[in-house]
């Protein structure tokens, strides 16, 4: 079971986050707070900066302006402390295509200093045990995404950052994974506004700036 | 100072050549920078017109 949120510190506190990408502002003043264990859905058209926001929160990108606090740690100074406690699933699986699913997860288990038994446990949970020993490049998109989710959950993170998780997950896989996500703080980006119901918070994003939900896709 | 000699350029020819190369490099560099300065100046004018255009709106 995921750990109870240790201290009441909010999962995420953003204040005027700015980030340039390719010389242009990708995020231009985004502020939000997310309580421990809460879920936030980020909606917005393509190129609104959703993925950039997630990559900043996951410590893959350093903020260029504003203040970012994740799980009580200030980024980018304390990024190393945050990395052990967040799970990130992006457009790319973050796996070695020539290694098998199991080998990838064993590598990540070692890097996160997690017992390698957990690998078999998670492979079973996402329904990938059967194909675990074949190279990732032989997997279908759905299987790659499931393996990527398993990689993100390996070290039992308190905060999950999911970039359009539903994008290539078939319904059965979605059900399979849903229970694993419970009880963790989550930031989910999506195109489908219906994902927003049931979430604790919703953020509209357009051209790097917060935007009201109406006319978001105008 | 450069003695025009019809045989292989005497030693002084080489010396002159060396200093001319140095001069050519410096002048070439200054020339390129001058072109850049001109382009810069053209941009400034362009921006100035833009700003005036904006003020009239």
């Amino acid at each position: 079971m995921p750990p109870a949120p240790s201290q009441a510190a909010a999962a995420i506190e953003l204040e005027g986050l700015k980030r340039d990408y390719g010389g242009r502002p990708a995020l231009d003043g985004v502020s939000l707070t997310l309580g421990a264990g809460e879920t936030l859905v980020v909606l917005g058209p393509n190129g609104a900066g959703k993925s950039t926001l997630l990559r900043v929160l996951s410590t893959l990108l350093r903020p260029h302006g504003g203040s970012v606090r994740v799980l009580g740690h200030e980024l980018p100074r304390e990024a190393w402390a945050v990395r052990a406690r967040i799970g990130y699933v992006g457009h790319e699986p973050l796996l070695y295509r020539d290694l098998s699913g199991r080998e990838n997860l064993v590598l990540h288990a070692r890097l996160h200093r997690v017992a390698t038994e957990r690998v078999a446990e998670l492979l079973e949970a996402v329904g990938m045990s059967r194909r675990a020993d074949e190279p990732v490049y032989t997997y279908s998109r759905g299987m790659v995404q499931r393996t990527a989710v398993a990689r993100a959950l390996l070290h039992d993170p308190e905060l999950l950052l999911l970039d359009e998780p539903r994008a290539n997950l078939d319904p059965t896989a979605a059900e399979l994974i849903a229970p694993l996500l419970e009880g963790r703080a989550r930031v989910i980006t999506s195109h489908d506004p219906s994902d927003a119901d049931g979430a604790d918070g919703v953020l509209g994003l357009r051209e790097g700036r917060p935007h009201a939900l109406e006319g978001l896709y105008a | 100072m450069i003695i025009a000699s019809n045989t292989l350029p005497g030693d002084s020819g080489y010396v002159a050549a060396a200093y001319l190369v140095f001069l050519a490099i410096v002048l070439g560099y200054v020339a390129i920078m001058a072109i850049r300065a001109a382009r810069l100046e053209r941009d400034v004018v362009e921006i100035a017109e833009l700003v005036e255009g904006r003020e009239h709106e």
Binding site: T59, R62, R83, E92, Y96, R97, D98, E103, L107, L111 | -
Partner: protein
């Protein structure tokens, strides 16, 4: 740091065993280059400085061939981001990669150097194997250290294949000068003479300077 390097190194070796990309390619390239030298120099055997030159030029270019592939596995599927998300000391990524590449160089030379003795080296050169091993070891460290740094610098860019060699060759010249000058007496026609110590010092100094330098700056290539 040690356990991280161990985990990453295990991954490097597994990837190489699985794909068998770097070592066979570098080995075939080396032996083929010896044949090219044979016809290029129109000589059946070489010795002394010429032999050292042929050996080290071949090793250098084989290393560049291998260096081109060093970070390719990381760029596909976002694998590098996967490593950057782990709570590890990121320099371990460089250390593991450099150790793996050093291992590849040794593996290639285990076959390529005997092939060189067989194909090109004159009769006299055979007896100074120990000295040669010392020079090979020092030079391989230098090549692995510098080539891995250059690969890290160039692989994330658009013109990757060009830049690795364009950057690597000049940067590795001191290693080639030192190695060639150290091995020339070993291949002397009249039987191996001793290696002038100063060249081992140059190689050692290069390994040290570039090792420390890479250790200090490599993280900046991964920060984004």
């Amino acid at each position: 740091m040690r356990s991280t390097v161990d985990a990453l190194l295990r991954k490097e070796l597994r990837l190489e065993l699985r794909n068998r990309e770097a070592i066979p390619a570098m080995l075939l390239f080396s032996v083929t280059t010896f044949v090219v030298f044979h016809f290029g120099l129109q000589r059946d055997s070489v010795d002394g400085a010429l032999a050292a030159g042929v050996l080290w030029v071949t090793m250098l270019f084989a290393a560049m061939l291998g260096a081109n592939r060093l970070f390719v596995a990381e760029t596909e599927g976002g694998a590098l981001d996967g490593l950057l998300l782990a709570p590890i000391d990121r320099t371990a990524i460089y250390v593991a990669k450099a150790l793996a590449f050093g291992g590849f160089l040794v593996a290639v030379q285990l076959v390529a150097v005997p092939a060189f003795y067989l194909l090109l080296l004159g009769p006299g050169g055979g007896d100074a194997v120990l000295g040669l091993i010392a020079v090979l070891a020092l030079a391989d460290i230098g090549i692995a250290v510098a080539a891995t740094l250059v690969a890290g610098l160039a692989t994330q860019t658009r013109s990757r294949e060009l830049l690795v060699s364009l950057l690597g060759l000049p940067l590795l010249l001191p290693v080639i000068i030192g190695a060639a000058r150290a091995t020339a007496p070993l291949f002397a026609a009249g039987g191996a003479e001793s290696i002038p110590a100063k060249w081992l010092l140059v190689l050692g100094l290069y390994d040290l300077v570039f090792g420390l330098l890479a250790f200090a700056v490599f993280d900046f290539l991964l920060e984004d």
